[in-house]
Structure formats: C-alpha cells, structure tokens
C-alpha cells in the first residue's frame, strides 16, 4: 500500500475523530454519520476505490478501510450515547415544574352531615337486629298523640306544639308516631328503627328549629327490661362516641313509656371528668327512653303480661352538633356550601 493512500486514511480518520468529538447534538452526529458512512460518505467512497487498486493491494486496503469504518462507527455511537444523555438531561431540566403549585381536581360530592349521621346511627341499630321502617311526615293525629297515650289536651303536649294540616293531620312531632303504625300489623318479637323529619312549632334560634330529625327505636319481646334498654343504648353510645362511653338514666316523663327516663352518655370530651360541653357534669343528655307503656301494647292486642318492650329516641341534630362541635342548629338547614364542603 502506498504511503499516499495510507496518509489519506490517516487524515480521514483524524478529521472524523475531531468532528465527532466536537459534535454537540445527536442531529450533528447524524450528519457526520452520513458524511463518512452514508452511501456517498467519505469512507464509503474509499471502499468503492478498492476496485481501482492492484489485485495484490486490495485485501489490505479493504481491511484498512473497514477498520476505519468500524472505528468511525464506534466513535459515533459512543459519542451519540453521551450527547443523547446530555440532550435528555437538558430537555428534562427544561420541563421542570413547581411541584408546590396547587393541584387540579374536580369537586367531589359529599353527604350532608345530618344524613351522614343518620346513616351511621342506622348502621349501629341494623347491626343490633333492628329493621328500619319509613313513615309519612304528614301524620295522623291519632298516631302522633292518641296512640302514644297523650291524655287529651295535656300539658305534656306543650313541648310538642304542632303544625296542623287538617283537623286530624299534622306534621309529625316525633317519629315515635310510627309505633302505632307498626304495631297495627306486626306481632312480636320485633325491633324497629324509625328515622325522619319532625316538626314543632318553635321559632328558629341557635338551639331550636321548627324542623329537625329524629331516630326512634323500639323493641317488643318477652322479658325485655330496663337493663336491656341500658345495654342497647350503651352499645350505641360506644359505637358512636367511643369505647369509653357509658349510659346514665334519670327519671323523666313521656306518656308512651313507663318507667320513663332521660338518658345521658359519658361526656366524650372530658371522659366524664367535667368540662364546659357537659356543664361540668361529665354527662351529656341525649334523649328520652323507657319501657313501652303497657296500655300501648294492649291497644294493639299485644299481651302486656307476656310481652314488654322498650323505646328510645334521639335528635340527630343534637348528635351531629355534639360530634362535630357545632353550636348553632341553624347551620344544618341553611345549606351554606362553605359549611357543607367541610364534611
């Protein structure tokens, strides 16, 4: 092989090495690749010259040019991987975002705290074998009062001032009204849970509302007594207000129960030690309860010697106010979305 041709190879090699080393992008490298190794590339041209050489020079020439070709190819690849990594790093760095910017989300729907509380309470009593029944908000006077033992026009009704619709229909003042509706057709044993809206003729203020929600449960079976009542309420209190809750009875009067009690649960803020929420008593009064008055059972043909029952009620707003620390009952019916979107 002539020195001259050897020089050509050397110079192409050197030139390629320099160009590749200087290439700053994969695009540039692609150009270089074409320039040397493409169909009309410098190295390809050298190969093409093989035929012009004397026969005996050809193998060595071919070998040398192929060597050069492979070397240039390897250099390009090696340079390419470096440049590509640099390019990617640069692109990624340009894509940088401020991860502390606020996220985007569609607004999720939420339950109203009242109905959410109702569902939770229902869940507890369903678990205890109670069946939920529905009843009308426009109730018959006889179910709302007569069937529940209210003496005619008695001061006991002063706390139950009603909205009247007709002579004998009113907006129910208590879901307890469903006792009569259920006992008209159901035979013991049964455990019933009623839930719904009630209405009393009360002007609206922070603690009174003409519209409120009540859960009222009652059970009739053989041998039901005050201890079953207390145990059931304790179970409920523990589920809703925490495992340390217990229940206290204090005598009270409701025409449809005898004995009648007001029940309180251990204050869940101070665990019974005394705090402003419980007015230092350690107890929070929740609702009325008692053994179903035997007259009511008898009115519906249930043998009151054989069967006894208990009943208790609670105000959902009161439970909701306690659990969420809400101090104004009006918030429940105002539907202020700034309030509702917090639950």
């Amino acid at each position: 092989m002539s020195e001259n041709t050897q020089k050509v190879l050397e110079s192409i090699k050197k030139e390629a090495e320099e160009q590749i080393a200087a290439a700053a992008s994969t695009v540039e490298l692609a150009h270089i690749e074409t320039e040397y190794l493409g169909r009309k590339g410098k190295v390809t041209e050298l190969l093409r010259k093989t035929g012009e050489l004397p026969k005996e020079d050809r193998p060595a020439w071919g070998q040398n040019v192929n060597k050069l070709k492979n070397m240039v190819g390897a250099l390009i690849e090696s340079r390419r991987s470096t440049v590509a990594a640099e390019e990617e790093a640069s692109r990624l760095s340009q894509e940088s975002i401020d991860v502390t910017l606020p996220g985007r989300f569609f607004r999720l729907g939420r339950r109203h705290p009242l109905t959410a509380t109702i569902d939770e309470i229902k869940r507890v009593f369903i678990g205890l074998g109670f069946e939920v029944v529905e009843g009308p908000e426009v109730e018959e006077y006889k179910f709302n009062f007569d069937a529940l033992n209210y003496p005619e026009d008695h001061p006991a009704m002063d706390a139950q001032m009603s909205f009247y619709i007709t002579d004998d229909r009113l907006l129910r003042t208590q879901t307890t009204a469903l006792q009569g509706r259920v006992m008209e057709h159901k035979k013991p044993p049964f455990r019933i849970c009623t839930v719904g809206r009630c209405f009393r003729y009360d002007a609206l203020d922070a603690t009174h509302s003409h519209t409120f929600h009540q859960v009222d449960c009652f059970a009739v079976d053989e041998k039901i007594n005050m201890a079953d009542l207390k145990g059931t309420l304790s179970q409920f209190a523990r589920e809703l207000f925490g495992p340390a809750s217990s229940v206290r009875f204090r005598p009270d009067y409701f025409p449809f129960v005898e004995p009648g009690v007001e029940y309180a649960i251990t204050c869940f803020v101070c665990q019974g030690k005394g705090c402003p929420l419980c007015k230092m008593s350690g107890w929070i009064e929740i609702g009325g309860a008692g053994l179903i008055h035997p007259t009511i059972l008898e009115r519906f043909g249930i043998d009151s010697e054989k069967y006894t029952g208990f009943a208790f009620g609670l105000g959902i707003e009161r439970v909701g106010m306690l659990r969420y620390g809400i101090d104004d009952i009006r918030l429940f019916l105002e539907d202020d979305l700034r309030f509702l979107r917090q639950f």
């Binding site: 109203h112 529905e134 909205f163």
Partner: protein, 678 residues
C-alpha cells in the same frame, strides 16, 4: 318552680349538702336546673314533668326528699280556732257547672286587719319568685307554694248578696282582672260570679272588683278544684298563665282543699287577727277516691332488671305517702289522690325504681329470637342513589319541608304557619335546590352542584295527600374546583352535563329505556327542557331554568336542574343480571359524517344507524355536531365513530363496508341524508 332550700327544711331533715341534695333530686326525677344564691339562702329552680303536680309545692318536694333520704316528714300544721258565727250566715255558694268544678270549699274570716305580712313570709315569697302584697293575699300565695293548692281570697263585702256562683260565663260578659286588664269572657270559660257578675276567672285570675284591699274586713277564701281541661283551654283562649292555672292544668288533688283552707285561715289569723267563722262550706260533687293497685315484687324485679324485695317496695311506697298491705303474691297499695300519675302497676314499679336508684340497673343486650336487621327498601335504595350522585360530584343538601308558596303546581298549606316563608309543604324539591343556589350565590359561591333526596307532598284526589320520596339536583357553573391556567368557560356545566348525570343514574340502576322528550315546562327554558319517560311512565323532568325565574331568584348564571320520581326509579331498578362477554377478536373502526336537516333529532339518526348496523355494531359514539359552511343553511352534520366487532371471528373489510353501505342507504332513504368525508 323556685324552691327555697331553707323552706324545705321545715318539713324534713337532711344532712347532705345543697348540691348533693340537688343531684339526688335530679336523679330521682325532679330536675334541679339551677341553684341560685339569694339573700334568703339557696333556691332550687326545678323543672317539674307534667305528670307530677305533687312536686309543684315545697311540701311535695320535701315528701320526695324524705323518701329518698329516709328522713322523717313533718306536715305543716293547720290548727283552726273557730269563732261563733256560722259561715252559712255570711256567705252562700252554688256550683252550676259541676263538671268543671268537682269541689269548692270555702271559709270566711271576719274582722281581719289587712296589713303587711310578716318578714319571714315575705322573704319566702320573694325567694320563691312572688311579690308580697298584703297579709291576706300573701298567706294564700304562701299556702299555694307550700301545699300546691291554689287559693283565692275575696273581700266578702264586695260580693253581691255575699254569694258565690260557680258557672260558665255568659255571652258578652266582661271582667277586669287584678292585673288591671279588661277581658272578654265566653261561655266556654268557667267563672266565679257573685249574684250579679263574674268576680274571678275560675282557677286563673281573680277580679279587680272583689279583690282584698287595705279596707277589707271580711274575707272569703276559695279553696277549689277545677277541671284541668276547662282551665287549660280557658287560660289558652284568654292568653293568661298564672301559678294557679299552671297547677290546675296539671291536676290538683281534690282532697287537698280543706287542709289548705285550714292552713291559710290559720296563717291569716296569725298575721291579721280576725274571727274564723264556724264551719266550712264544702261542695264536693266530683268526689275522688284513692286508687288501689297491686304490685308484684317479681314483676318489679323483672322490669327493672335488678332484684327488689317486698320489704324494700313497702318502705319506698310508704315513704311516698302510700299505704301498703301484704297479700300472697303481691302488695296492695293505696295511692293517695295527690298522685294522679299512678294508675297501674308499672307506675308503682317506676316509683320503686327511681327511689332505689336507676344507677343500679345493669346492662344486658337483647336476648330472645335473633332478628335480621335491615334498612327499609327506600333507605336501601336511597343509599344506592347517594353513592351514584356523590360520585357524580353533587353535594347533598337538606332543604325545608315547609316552604313559601311557589308557582307551578298545587301545594298543601300549613294551617298555622310560623310565617309566610314556611306556609306550605313542598311538592317538589327543585325550588329548594334553587334557593340553595341563590342563597349561596349571595355569599359569593359561583360553582354549585347540589342534590337532595327527601319527601314531597302533593294534594291528590278527594282531599287526600300523596306523600313520597323524590330526588332532585341543580347545577350552575362548573363541577371543577377553582384552578389556574384553565379556561373556565370550557368547564362550565350545561344541559348535556346535567343529562349525562341522569343517564349515569339510569345506567347504574339498570334502567335502559329512558327517553328524553322535548317539552315546554313551567319554570324551564322554553326550548331546553325535557320530560324523561320509561315505558310511557314519567320518570322526571330535566332542563335549564327559565331566564325569568333565574332573574327572579337571583341565580348567578345559567342553572340546570332535574327532578326524578324516586319510587318509579326504585320500581325499575332491577338487580343487574349478567354482563356482556368481551370479544377476543379485533374491532374495525369507521367514521361517518351524516348531513341532515337541522331539525332532525339525534335520537332518530342514532336509532337508524343501530338498525342498519345490526348485531356487529359494538360501539356508536357521536364526536361532532356541526352547522355552518360549507353546509347549507338549515343543515347540520353529525359525525360518528362506529366500531364493529364480532364475538366469533375477525371481521373482513368487505362485510364492514357492506354494513356501512346499508347505514348510508337507510339514512339517505329515511332522512335524505348526505355524507361528508370525515
């Protein structure tokens, strides 16, 4: 009632603190709401349940204390030294309305010197919340508080013919009561009259004309018993509630009149001298006898849940003023008439329980037959709806049942509404939803999507009511949270988002044949509202709120609503059985742009495509609705993506082309459709 603690000590002893005693009383059924410190010592403010009139007296409270603490009870003394004059020569009494006046007892005291009552009496009255007036009136108020028997004192010389007639008021009669008010009377009201005119509204308030005054010498004292309903209704009609009426409404012991009478004349004489006429006029047409009730110790223990012995029962009931006789299996209890609340065994059991203490009740869970707890069908269905609606981005609200009267549809009025804002029952939920939107817009909230599930009431035939569950929603603005760099207008809700939510509901409930039919509905945009039907039954309505209603309610922008019939949905929502098997073969995707007249309904085009595509159609999606150039005016183009797929094999292009040709042919034939390149 205000009960001065010092006063209690006159009748029973206790060596517990004032706070402890208050707690014991509260836990035994007489709630001490507050303990006030006054210059006359501590005063309990009690809440007396309406069944316990006996606790509306200091002595009655002392009786419960003695039973609770086991301390002795000492009754106030009533020791009368009668004079010579026969009462019958001084006064005459008649009852014309015995049904409303079971008993009327009276004494007369002559030659009284009216003056101030002694300091101790005034102090107790003040401590109990009463204003001292003079020794005669004060003595009667004192005994009212002490024993719970309302008493009224008349200046006997101001009674025409010295006569008392207990009768119904006559039409047109008036009386000026001691508070100086002239009051119109009506025949439903029981009055105390003299020979000429009413001198008191029975059991409620005395008359000005016969009032004891500083010149009074001779006093007639009324110690009567009136029918509680008569007093309650009169007091309500007249709009007067007094210490007397409060007690009569709850029931005063008819056998208390004479004792109270003797007690009061004794006190009047002690403070004002005078001569007590001999004898009592005591008309008692409605004699009340003590009840006799048996109580079984076994039953008592069974109901209370803890063991009580016959001896304990006897002890408690005796301390409460009852008398007890032992029988073989039970105790026979005689219940005095001051306890009208005790009418059967359970009432006695309650007495035993509350005196023994409810803290002794253990806790057990219901035993007996295991019962399956479950939600009501409506409750269970509502739970499903809640889940669907909330996952659709809707916020639950709870709006009022009582509403103002609103336009569109009959409502049931409340007879005695609190005010005009709450004078009718809601017959639909949408007005409440719009209220929520308007109310919150007023507080700066722009984007809202709310729903409610609740009862609605409508008048139905024959003056009856139809009350049922309903579900409704309203949407304005966007469902997205506030964000940055996003075009809010592109996210705004419209009719089709609202419709999409209803479609989602139907799909989740398995209702496959809901049809939307354009309809003009009151309160809705005239061309953007529809009824929704299934099998010819109306499922509900959907649409944009009309401009005029939106303006009237001050809605923040275009608002879309729907209201669905809860019960119809419930009836139709089946258990979803099975699923569509997934195909293992590839799909063939074709586009088609259909040019048709602008007033052709999309639903028509869709059903024709489905018909022509046949069973190989896997998915039909509308992706563009276009009007404008190069289309002719009055034309529109609907562009569909149509996906064909077989469950059995790979489709050949030729058979898909054949289907596409069939679709084009049917659309052209039925609608005169032309086709654009897509």
């Amino acid at each position: 009632m205000l009960v001065p603690v010092e006063w209690l000590k006159e009748y029973t002893e206790f060596n517990v603190t004032i706070e402890e005693l208050a707690d014991r009383l509260t836990m035994a059924g007489l709630e001490v709401e507050e303990i006030e410190e006054t210059p006359y010592g501590a005063v309990y403010s009690t809440y007396v349940t309406p069944n316990r009139p006996d606790l509306l007296s200091v002595f009655g409270v002392a009786r419960d204390i003695s039973a609770l603490l086991g301390s002795k009870l000492k009754a106030p003394e009533a020791c009368v030294t009668q004079g010579e004059t026969d009462i019958n020569s001084l006064a005459k009494i008649e009852i014309e309305s015995p049904a409303n006046c079971p008993r009327y007892s009276s004494r007369v005291i002559t030659g009284v010197k009216v003056g101030e009552s002694p300091a101790w009496m005034q102090e107790r009255l003040i401590a109990a919340g009463m204003r001292p007036i003079n020794n005669v009136v004060d003595a009667s108020n004192y005994v009212l508080l002490e024993l719970g028997q309302p008493l009224h004192t008349f200046d006997c010389d101001l009674l025409a013919e010295h006569k008392i007639i207990v009768r119904q008021a006559r039409a047109g009669e008036k009386i000026t009561t001691i508070d100086g008010e002239e009051r119109q009377l009506d025949p439903a009201t029981l009055v105390i009259a003299d020979a000429v005119q009413p001198v008191a509204i029975a059991g409620i308030m005395g008359g000005f004309n016969s009032e004891v005054n500083w010149q009074t010498k001779n006093v007639l004292i009324e110690s009567a018993n009136f029918n509680r309903l008569s007093i309650r209704r009169s007091a309500r009609r007249i709009g007067l509630a007094t210490e007397a009426s409060f007690r009569y409404e709850r029931g005063v012991d008819p056998n208390l009149t004479l004792y109270a009478l003797d007690r009061v004349v004794q006190l009047i004489q002690e403070t004002g001298g005078g001569d007590i006429a001999r004898g009592v006029i005591d008309l008692y047409p409605g004699k009340a006898e003590p009840r006799c009730i048996d109580i079984r110790p076994g039953r008592t223990s069974d109901l209370l849940g803890f063991k009580v012995t016959a001896k304990q029962i006897e002890g408690y009931l005796t301390a409460l003023g009852m008398s007890v006789k032992h029988k073989a299996e039970s105790l026979a209890v005689t219940v005095p008439t001051f306890r009208p609340d005790i009418t059967r065994e359970e009432d006695l059991i309650e007495e035993v329980g509350r005196i023994y203490g409810y803290e002794h009740i253990p806790e057990t869970l219901l035993c007996g037959e295991t019962l399956q707890g479950k939600d009501s069908p409506e409750g269970a269905f509502a739970a499903k709806l809640y889940e669907i609606l909330i996952s659709s981005g809707l916020q639950e609200v709870v709006t009022g049942t009582m509403t103002p009267a609103y336009e569109g549809g009959p409502q049931i009025p409340v007879r005695n509404p609190l005010n005009d804002e709450v004078c009718c029952l809601r017959s639909r939920l949408v007005p409440g939803m719009l209220n929520v939107i308007a109310h919150n817009a007023g507080r700066g909230v722009r984007d809202m999507a709310v729903f409610e599930i609740g009862h609605v009431v409508k008048p139905s035939s024959g003056g009856a009511f139809e009350e049922k569950f309903s579900v409704a929603a309203a949407i304005t603005g966007t469902l997205w949270e506030e964000t940055w760099n996003v075009d809010k207008a592109s996210l705004a809700a419209d009719f089709f988002l609202c419709k999409g939510i209803t479609e989602h509901i139907f799909q989740r409930l398995g209702i496959t044949n809901a049809e939307y039919k354009a309809e003009q509905l009151p309160g809705f945009h005239p061309t953007r509202a529809a009824s929704i039907e299934s099998d010819g039954k109306r499922l509900g309505v959907i649409g944009e709120v009309s401009d005029s209603l939106a303006r009237q309610m001050d809605l923040p922008g275009r608002t879309y609503v729907f209201e669905l019939d809860f019960e119809e949905l419930m009836k139709r929502s089946g258990m979803r059985a099975g699923y569509a098997p997934l195909s293992r073969y590839p799909a063939v995707d074709r586009d088609l742009a259909v040019v048709i007249s602008g007033d052709t309904a999309y639903s028509r085009v869709e059903s024709l495509i489905r018909e022509a595509a046949g069973e190989l159609l896997s998915c039909l999606t509308l992706f563009d609705v276009y009007t404008g150039k190069p289309l002719q005016p009055g034309q529109k183009s609907l562009a569909f993506s149509i996906i064909f797929r077989s469950r059995e094999r790979t489709l050949r292009d030729a058979e898909v082309d054949e289907r596409m040709n069939a679709i084009r042919a049917l659309l052209a034939a039925e609608l005169g459709a032309a086709f654009r390149d897509t």
